[in-house]
């Protein structure tokens, strides 16, 4: 039967080996995949300001982006493609809660410039190569 010291060797060995592989793969992703898939050349100041607004207002507390966040409000990865600039800005600049189907969004009342920053952020987000996510609906009705 397995002895305690063999069990310990299994633990330490497995950990060290998988952790080394994990670091290697992560390194590869950050240095090769991120430049190819995320268009860093388009990450201008406006996009970064948009990301900042996205975070400092905790938009992820209701929405998802890249499928990460909360499940109370729509996925926004492809929102620019789906709705376009005008619609997005209207929702962001509204002084009373935006509520297309009765479910309310916080009325942020962003300025025109802030809303434009967020739109740029969404544009950048929408162009990231996500290996096929979000899926295209495929059941014809």
């Amino acid at each position: 039967m397995l002895s305690k010291s063999q069990a310990r060797t299994f633990f330490l060995g497995g950990t060290i080996i998988t952790f080394a592989i994990f670091l290697g793969l992560s390194w590869n992703s950050l240095s090769n995949d991120v430049p190819k898939q995320t268009n860093p050349q388009n990450l201008n100041e406006q996009v970064v300001r948009g990301k900042h607004l996205w975070e400092s207002n905790n938009c992820m507390g209701c929405h998802t982006i890249f499928g990460e966040g909360a499940y109370y409000a729509p996925e926004l990865t492809k929102v620019f493609e789906r709705r376009g600039e005008g619609y997005i800005k209207a929702a962001l600049m509204a002084k009373t809660p935006w509520a297309p189907r009765g479910r309310k969004m916080v009325a942020y009342g962003f300025s025109d410039a802030e809303a434009a920053d967020l739109v740029e952020f969404f544009k950048w987000v929408g162009e990231v190569d996500l290996n096929g996510f979000p899926p295209k609906p495929d059941v014809s009705r």
């Binding site: 069990a7 633990f11 592989i21 994990f22 793969l25 990460e68 059941v139």
Partner: protein, 450 residues
């Protein structure tokens, strides 16, 4: 209880269950909002309720872990904690940081990254606090007579958990990089180092409750934590499928995360096996119930329900839907909520010297909370599957789908009420024990002889 300084654990447990009750209140707010009753929207919008709900969750679980460590380490190392005063200061300051963060969430002051909403300046206070905690634990272990495997695994988990908090504090302009490192905290915590903490606590409980030889238990502990890291580290890849990094993760993440349930299965087999092997009859039956329940529900919630959506082909459709919330609830409760409850149930009589074993209230608390949580899981699951089908397969619009599935949140709230009733009874029992005291020294040993 064998050492006076272990008493500090009681206050960590008291704080933990209080924060849990507040967490539940915010859970109800969200449950109702999903049903269409969002009357509190102008005061507590959904994102506030959610940040409070999940942050309180993490904080009360951590308080439970810390309390357990303050109880376990003196007994394992045969050494009083080096400073009880510092431990109290650490508790109070931790709570203060938590309260400030939560008030901030009501005033739109946060850093909206899921689970890591605490703003950067407060992060630094958390770091100082956790270093204090680790300082006390490590110094006690260092001064102590013994360094057992159980205590080493527990402490290793705590130290790594602290280290892994740091990648979450780096600022990135690129959302993909942001997400990439966020998972070093979130995933490597719950599917990595927290399992070490859980394994350490579980081993301690099984040694005490079943009386099986320590050498046997600790050997299996190594196997379990070995399986955890072997699968869990590369399993991080299941969060890298669709965030803007390469397709290699679809293969690596898929294969290794499919192996992750093995660690939870091993824990379940281990707990049940030791229970059947054990000859000692410990009077605290309820603690044994909770311990076995943890082992089984963690396998169900984390292992099976995690596996259900971890393959890239499935996750493509379920990613970021209520299916995730289904798994999140039973996994967090079944593994970490329940291990904390197991430990509290085990430790309370020993800390207070009260012989309130196996009471009716205690039994009811156990069954109501667990049945309620299973019902909640089912409600989230049905809502989630319906959402995936309607939204991701047929292409119905998000808002329209949400209206279709409102009814499942009614079921959720009913089950949440059962759950909350169970938790209330647990809290009532908790306070019936009274305060920890020095007369309780040696209580557990006296009870076992009797």
């Amino acid at each position: 209880m064998k050492y006076q300084s272990q008493k500090v654990a009681y206050w960590f447990f008291a704080a933990a269950i209080l924060l849990l009750s507040l967490q539940i209140v915010y859970g109800f707010i969200m449950g109702f909002a999903h049903m269409g009753y969002d009357g509190l929207h102008s005061v507590i919008p959904f994102n506030t309720a959610r940040a409070v709900h999940t942050n309180l969750l993490v904080v009360w679980i951590l308080l439970g872990f810390m309390g357990a460590a303050y109880y376990i380490i003196p007994e394992e190392a045969q050494q009083e904690l080096v400073s009880v005063k510092l431990a109290y200061i650490q508790l109070i300051s931790f709570l203060l940081v938590g309260v400030v963060a939560i008030i901030g969430y009501h005033l739109n002051y946060w850093e909206g990254r899921k689970f890591l909403e605490i703003p950067r300046p407060l992060d630094w206070l958390v770091v100082v606090n956790v270093l204090t905690f680790l300082g006390i634990i490590l110094a006690t272990l260092y001064k102590g007579k013994k360094r057992t495997t159980t205590s080493l695994v527990l402490v290793m988990g705590l130290v790594f958990a602290a280290l892994l908090y740091l990648p979450g504090m780096i600022w990135f302009d690129n959302q993909t990089m942001d997400s990439f490192f966020r998972w070093w905290v979130v995933h490597l915590w719950v599917e990595g180092v927290w399992e070490l903490i859980m394994g350490g606590i579980l081993a301690f409980l099984l040694i005490k409750l079943t009386g099986v030889d320590r050498e046997v238990i600790e050997k299996w502990l190594y196997v379990i934590v070995g399986l955890t890291f072997l699968s869990g580290i590369l399993g991080t890849g299941h969060h890298y499928y669709y965030i803007g990094v390469g397709k290699i993760w679809l293969i690596v993440g898929g294969i290794f995360s499919m192996l992750e349930p093995l660690a939870f299965l091993a824990m379940a087999l281990f707990a049940v096996g030791m229970y059947r092997k054990g000859e000692k009859k410990h009077p605290n039956k309820l603690a044994l119930y909770w311990t076995l329940g943890t082992a089984i529900l963690s396998f169900t919630g984390a292992g099976l329900l995690g596996m259900a959506h971890t393959l890239p082909q499935v996750n493509m459709y379920t990613h970021g839907t209520l299916v995730t919330a289904m798994h999140g609830h039973l996994a967090f409760w079944g593994a970490y909520g329940m291990i904390v409850f197991s430990f509290i149930t085990y430790a309370l009589p020993n800390l207070t010297g009260r012989k309130l074993y196996d009471t009716v209230n205690g039994q009811l608390a156990y069954w109501l909370s667990n049945i309620g949580m299973l019902g909640m899981t089912a409600a989230f699951g049905v809502a989630g599957v319906a959402q995936v089908y309607l939204e991701r397969k047929t292409g119905l619009e998000f808002g329209a789908v949400q209206q279709e599935i409102e009814v499942h949140f009614f079921v959720l709230v009913i089950n949440a009420t059962l759950f909350a009733t169970g938790i209330t009874m647990f809290i009532v029992e908790f306070f019936r024990f009274g305060k920890p005291n020095d007369e309780a020294l040696g209580f557990e040993e006296r009870m076992q002889k009797a």
